[in-house]
């Protein structure tokens, strides 16, 4: 029986790796993967705390987060494909039309 703070610290480490990936990388697809990693860390926190309190409600949140993540990935990859058609690149430093 591993105590709950172990899982919380591990989820924090995974979340921070995702944050650093979003800040450092240029490839839009790898940035999306980092966002998925952050979502997974949040899900791990939900499930660890749900077990800690002996409730199933944490897992309900995870189910809805899964559905939102699937929808987000499909729309986000559609956006990436559209940007690639427009610019022939997915370097996010070159997609700066709204950065004035």
């Amino acid at each position: 029986m591993v105590p709950t703070p172990y899982y919380l610290v591990l989820a924090g480490i995974l979340f921070t790796i995702g944050v650093i990936g979003v800040l450092v990388k240029r490839n839009a697809i790898v940035i999306f993967m980092s966002i998925e990693l952050m979502l997974n860390a949040a899900n791990l926190t939900f499930i660890a705390l749900g077990r800690h309190f002996g409730q199933v409600n944490g897992q309900m949140y995870v189910i809805f987060a899964l559905a939102v993540a699937a929808a987000e990935v499909s729309v986000g990859l559609g956006i990436i494909v559209a940007i690639f058609r427009l610019r022939e690149s997915i370097n996010i430093d070159e997609v700066n039309l709204m950065k004035f």
Binding site: I20, V30, I47, G50, L77, V81
Partner: protein, 171 residues
């Protein structure tokens, strides 16, 4: 009960190292495969946390569907070349690492605050995350989860329409 700690530490090392490698490597295909390893480790954590159904869904949806979608897009856009993108300057990397360390210190510090004690003793095995437990809780009229479940279908419909419109050549 030492074996659960052993399992925890092995999976912790594997998941953290593979997620770091996901960020470090320059090849997007390798990033995707390292992310699959991390997802599988998290799925095993779900099993140890009495969330068996979520673990199966994690393997099927995340490690299966979502990562296959990522790999399809990488293949479609022909991004497998390792030298496709230059890395950023070192200043931004250093600032990101510094901010990451501050953030992780804050997260760990807030994780180590003593949690309130559980109303039910967490050591007792309950049929928490089985399909029966999930279904009884999700579709129970006494719980608030039925309406969000229906809203999720609308969300998925909007995502389907949005993805098709985004990927169409001409609207």
């Amino acid at each position: 009960m030492a074996w659960s700690f052993v399992l925890f530490w092995i999976l912790a090392v594997v998941s953290v190292v593979s997620s770091i490698m996901m960020v470090v490597t320059r090849n997007p295909v390798r990033s995707a495969l390292f992310l699959v390893v991390t997802f599988l480790c998290v799925a095993v954590y779900y099993v140890t946390l009495a969330a068996q159904f979520i673990a199966a869904v994690q393997v099927i949806v995340y490690a299966g569907a979502i990562m296959v979608l990522f790999l399809f897009v990488i293949m479609l856009l022909n991004l497998g070349a390792p030298e496709a993108l230059r890395e950023r300057g070192t200043l931004q990397t250093r600032v990101a690492l510094l901010l990451g360390f501050i953030f992780i210190a804050a997260l760990i510090g807030s994780s180590l605050i003593a949690l309130p004690t559980a109303p039910a003793p967490p050591g007792v095995y309950q049929p928490l995350g089985t399909v029966q437990g999930i279904g009884l809780n999700l579709f129970s009229p006494n719980q608030p989860w039925l309406f969000p479940f229906e809203i999720t279908s609308i969300l998925l419909l909007v995502a389907i329409v949005g993805a098709i419109i985004m990927a169409k050549r001409r609207v």
